[in-house]
Symmetry: none
Subunit: 255 residues, 2 copies
């Protein structure tokens, strides 16, 4: 059973990935032409249809522009893994919002949660550990389940919807998807210890403690993303919360 079905990404995705790397590394200047599809096919040892699929993927992400009969050209859009297309939400903004909102959800959940839900939460920690051990692919499932269970414990469907939306938003655009993928590839897995801390905090049924624990956990998530993506500070700088000292003080609330 040591054998795991390693999910082989589709070929065009691998090719697209490599092409993006090449473009981001400046191997092809903006405005310059990429090698012909036939050449690329030879380079990557794949067929031309596969190359075409990859090119289309890059085209949809605004990395390149294809001119019929001429070639595919690197688009002007400021490259360097950063350029968030207007509409999509970057991982930092996303996680910052989660710090704010899930912190409050945890606080409310601490007040409302039932013993049964607490047991369920704890069992999810087990699942998470199991997933971390085995296939890397699934491990986010338990993580989501953990956070959603807390959300549901608030007994507020609006809260549940918002938090689920925030979670799913990471899959919303190819760009953010790639960023999270990068984080995963770097070996960052949801820390059991951190989640257990959150669990313990909620188990105290003290809102302030629960909020502080959740904020702490998500703040570390931001740190992970930062570390993994060595991303331009421009976007990260927007995250005031990440560097803020205005953390909720557990001690203050306890007194």
């Amino acid at each position: 059973m040591a054998e795991q079905t390693i999910k082989v990404p589709r070929l065009y995705q691998q090719v697209a990935e490599k092409l993006i790397e090449m473009i981001e590394s400046g191997e092809y200047d903006v405005g310059s032409r990429l090698p012909a599809e036939r050449e690329l096919a030879a380079m990557f040892s794949v067929s031309r249809p596969t190359i075409r699929e990859a090119v289309i993927a890059l085209e949809l992400e605004n990395f390149v522009e294809v001119r019929t009969g001429s070639g595919v050209y690197v688009k002007a859009g400021r490259r360097e893994s950063g350029r968030l297309a207007d509409k999509d939400i970057g991982p930092f903004e996303l996680t910052e919002a989660r710090i704010l909102f899930e912190g409050e959800a945890a606080a409310l959940a601490a007040r409302m949660i039932t013993d049964a839900e607490l047991r369920q939460l704890e069992s999810i920690l087990g699942e998470m550990a199991a997933e971390n051990e085995s296939g890397e692919e699934m491990h986010e499932e338990a993580d989501k389940k953990f956070h959603m269970t807390i959300a549901q414990a608030t007994r507020n469907s609006a809260v549940v919807s918002v938090i689920e939306g925030l979670w799913d938003a990471r899959e919303s655009s190819p760009l953010t998807r790639r960023m999270y993928q990068r984080v995963r590839n770097k070996g960052f897995k949801p820390s059991i210890e951190e989640h257990r801390d959150v669990f313990n905090a909620i188990a105290t049924r003290d809102p302030a403690i629960a909020r502080a624990a959740m904020r702490e956990h998500l703040t570390r998530v931001i740190d992970s993303i930062l570390e993994a993506t060595e991303v331009e500070a421009i976007e990260a700088a927007r995250s005031e919360v990440a560097k803020s000292r205005e953390r909720y003080s557990v001690a203050r609330k306890l007194g």
Copy 2:
């Protein structure tokens, strides 16, 4: 010179567009399988590679999910069961969520807001007053604008999108809409004083003060709804309203 050959969109784009239309028109339910690539190819009278390209486009935009050996399935995330809209969220849940989330947004906004935005906020107070005087219809516009301006001051698009979603959610279910209508009919208008308090609090640029003010404001909103719907609350005593009535006091005490 005047004659320009209209650029014919690439074939895969045309196909992708048609497929999106079909999906959005509900021709294929979420979770259901689309016709096989070979069938689609026959349907659109194009080759299979072209269909594949179109499918990849939909996949990148999160419309569908491709399962090898099985088929391509319509994804849920995009619309339908996704957003807060048509989720049937009661007014109390909604406002409770706003207390939690907008409170935090206000706190963050207090730290981030620019002088220009502060001026804009203040001018919205003026609009609100004007709307209260004249037609009742419009006055919610200024109210929304007020809250959205604060959200935008956080410089976090995830926060903005969540708060806008929460606002629009009041139009989601018929029940919720009727309740808000009732509140308006009872003569409850967004209080300028309350909003000015929030404005002043944010102007101090102190997160804690801003959060408290926003929570206070929204807590009063819940009171208004409670008061305005008291009769209804008796009818539906065992459902939402009664439960929420006891609930919101919990949220209030969290801070």
